[in-house]
Symmetry: C2
Subunit: 284 residues, 2 copies
C-alpha cells in the first residue's frame, strides 16, 4: 500500500474490476487495504485513518460490486464511535448493499504490530454471510492462529473462510527466522481447512513498509493462497508481486471430503468445556 | 505388527531397551502395539485381544521402564469391564508404576477402521502426566484431527503431545488420494504444535496388514515424526522401515516461541462457547 489513501482505494477498484472481468464472484482485499500498515507505531493521529460504515470505502466499493454483480470483502479501519475503533471486514453484496460486518476478534500486540492500541476487540463473534455464491466466513490476520475461530466459523456453515491479512518479516529476523515463520503461517491455516473441511483463502499484502526513514519496517510476505478442504493449495501468489489469484470453490468437494473423513461427526462436544478457560492448572 | 501378540510384546521390549540405551527418556510405542490392527473387521473374537490394566503388557513394560529409568507410553486395547473396552495409552513412570491412563476420546468409524465397534469413547477427558522428564500429554490417532483435543492438552500444561497412531492408505486409493491424505495428516498435527506452542510426536505403524488373504488391507504409512513448537520437523521416520526416531525437547524453546508469538495470551475465551455445540445453524 502507499501513503495516499485515495490512491489505495483507486487501486482496489481497479483490481476488483479486473477480478470481476476475469470471472471472480467473491473478491477479498487485504487487511486494512486503505492505508499503509500504520500499527507499526502508536501514534494518535493515525486514528484519523478510521472511517465509518458506511463510509467512503464501502460506498465506492458498493458501487463497483453492484456494477459487476460480485461480492466484495473490504477490510477497513472502522470508526464506530469516538474511542471505539475496530479492525473490520465489511461484506458487500452483489446489490452493492452491506451484507454484514466481521470485527477482528483476536488482537495482536508485539513489536511493530501494536494493534491493541488501535483496535477494540470484536464484539460480533464469529460470522458467516449467505451470498448468491455461497456461504462465506471471514476472520482477520491474527485470528488465523486460533483454531477456535476457524471451528466456530465452520460450524456456522462457512464453505470458505477468508483471512485478510497483513503479516511479514522483521527484516533483521528474516534470514534466521523467516522460513519457519512463513511455514507456520501456511501450515496452521491449511490445518484449519483440514480440521473443518472448508476452503481457506488468505489474502496478504506485499512490500516493505516503513513507518519512517529510520525504522526497519516490515517486509510483508505476500504469498496469498487458496486451499481446498483437504489443505491442498489450489492457488498461490508470489512473495513480492501485486497480483490477483483466483480459484473455483466446489461445494460438492466439501461434502466429499467430509464424508470420507467425517471429523465433524465425531467431535466430543461433551468434553470441550475447558476451551473457555485461560489455562487449566493441575495440582500434580 | 504380527499375528503373535507375544512376539509384538517382545519386539516392543527390544526397541524400548534400544531406545533407552541410545539416551531416550520418554519412549512411545504405536497405537495398539500388541496386535495387528484388528479393527479392519468387526469380529467378536477380537475382543479377546483386550487386556486389563495392569496386565501382561504393563507389567512387562513396567519392569523394563524401571530397569532403564525411562518413561514408557504403552498404547493398548484395554479391558475395563465385560462390555467396556477402550483404546488406551498407559503412562508408565521411571519406577515402573502406572502414572495414569489416557483413553482415546474421538473414535473413528469408516471402512477398514471399524473402531466404534470395539472402543467405548474415553471418559477421562484430556490428560497430562508429570514425569521426571517433563509434562507429557497423550492423545491417540483419530484425536489428531481435533484441534480441541490438542488445545485442552496444551492448556493442561503439556510440553509435548504424543499421538500413538495406526493410519495408512487403502491400497486402491493410494495412487489417487495418497499424497493429500498423508500431507493433511502431517499438516494438521504440525498445526496443533504451532497453535499451542508445544512439541508434537506422532508414532505410526508400518507395513501392509490384511485381515485375511482376500482383503485389500491397509498400508500403514509410517513416517512417525517429532516437530517443535513452531511446527518444524526435527525427526522423521521412513514410510516403510521399522525404526527408532529420537529428538531432544527443549522447554526453553517453548517459552521462546510463545513469547515471540503470544497466541495463548490473546485467546478470546469469552467467545468460544459454541465449541460445545454440534453445529450452529443460522436462519439466514
Amino acid at each position: 500500500m502507499e501513503e495516499d489513501i485515495n490512491h489505495n482505494l483507486d487501486k482496489a477498484v481497479t483490481w476488483v474490476n479486473k477480478a470481476a472481468k476475469e470471472g471472480a464472484q467473491v473478491i477479498c482485499l487485504p487487511e486494512l487495504f486503505r492505508s499503509m500498515y500504520f500499527c507499526q507505531k502508536e501514534k494518535i493521529e493515525y486514528f484519523d485513518l478510521a472511517e465509518t460504515i458506511s463510509g467512503p470505502s464501502t460506498k465506492t466499493l458498493g458501487k463497483i460490486a453492484k456494477e459487476n454483480k460480485v461480492v466484495v470483502i473490504a477490510p477497513i479501519f472502522e470508526k464506530r464511535a469516538p474511542g471505539i475503533y475496530h479492525n473490520t471486514a465489511v461484506i458487500i453484496n452483489t446489490d452493492g448493499e452491506i451484507a454484514g460486518l466481521y470485527r477482528k476478534m483476536h488482537i495482536p500486540d508485539d513489536p511493530s504490530y501494536f494493534e491493541k492500541y488501535y483496535f477494540t476487540p470484536g464484539d460480533l463473534g464469529y460470522k458467516t454471510f449467505s451470498t448468491e455464491f455461497g456461504k462465506i466466513g471471514t476472520l482477520i490476520c491474527w485470528d488465523q492462529w486460533y483454531p477456535e475461530g476457524a471451528r466456530l466459523t465452520a460450524l456456522k456453515g462457512a464453505e470458505i473462510i477468508f483471512y485478510p491479512t497483513a503479516i511479514g518479516w522483521h527484516p533483521s529476523e528474516k534470514k534466521r527466522e523467516g522460513k519457519p515463520q512463513f511455514d507456520s503461517w501456511m501450515t496452521v491455516q491449511r490445518g484449519h481447512a483440514i480440521a473443518n473441511g472448508v476452503y481457506v483463502a488468505a489474502v496478504n499484502r506485499i512490500g516493505l513498509e516503513k513507518e519512517n526513514e529510520n525504522s526497519a519496517g516490515i517486509e510483508f510476505w505476500g504469498s496469498s493462497f487458496i486451499c481446498d478442504p483437504q489443505g491442498v493449495i489450489i492457488a498461490q501468489a508470489s512473495q513480492n508481486k501485486e497480483e490477483l489469484i483466483m480459484a473455483e470453490i466446489d461445494p460438492s468437494r466439501i461434502e466429499y471430503i467430509r464424508r470420507n473423513w467425517p471429523f465433524l461427526r465425531d467431535r466430543r462436544i461433551d468434553s470441550y468445556n475447558g476451551i473457555t478457560e485461560r489455562f487449566l492448572e493441575e495440582n500434580d
